[in-house]
Symmetry: C2
Subunit: 78 residues, 2 copies
């Protein structure tokens, strides 16, 4: 039996991946166009200050919560 008044944060809040980027948007999809020979590093941790691009914020996130997320590096043939 779990006492209803037990001190327990609403877990669904902590299971959100995005707590920072365009929170008023119903879905944050990003469209990018790269030129031939282009290369970009994209964020997949939703913590980057330069979202949609990676700024290394995943390192701190991974350390804090024991996660292993990392960026997507897209290169384009010349």
């Amino acid at each position: 039996f779990v006492p209803s008044s037990s001190i327990r944060a609403p877990t669904h809040l902590s299971e959100r991946i995005n707590n920072k980027i365009d929170l008023e948007s119903p879905k944050v999809a990003t469209m990018e166009t790269l030129p031939a020979g282009g290369k970009k590093v994209y964020c997949r941790c939703w913590k980057s200050a330069t979202f949609p691009l990676c700024n290394g914020a995943h390192v701190k996130h991974n350390e804090e919560v024991g996660d292993n997320v990392g960026p997507l590096i897209v290169s384009v043939e010349k």
Copy 2:
């Protein structure tokens, strides 16, 4: 005062973004090369069965936890 024995899941577990992809890897970074004129839709919710590509799994995730994550669509100029 929060009773130490209060029934409370270890929150850091629920704050992981990735609970599924290459869990033994210290950091899941992905390198992709696209041809001129190419286009791919990449997963950013870490729930896709076709990771690193998106398979729409973010829809179910967003509904379940009230999140708003979506994919990254990368197109390359011809």
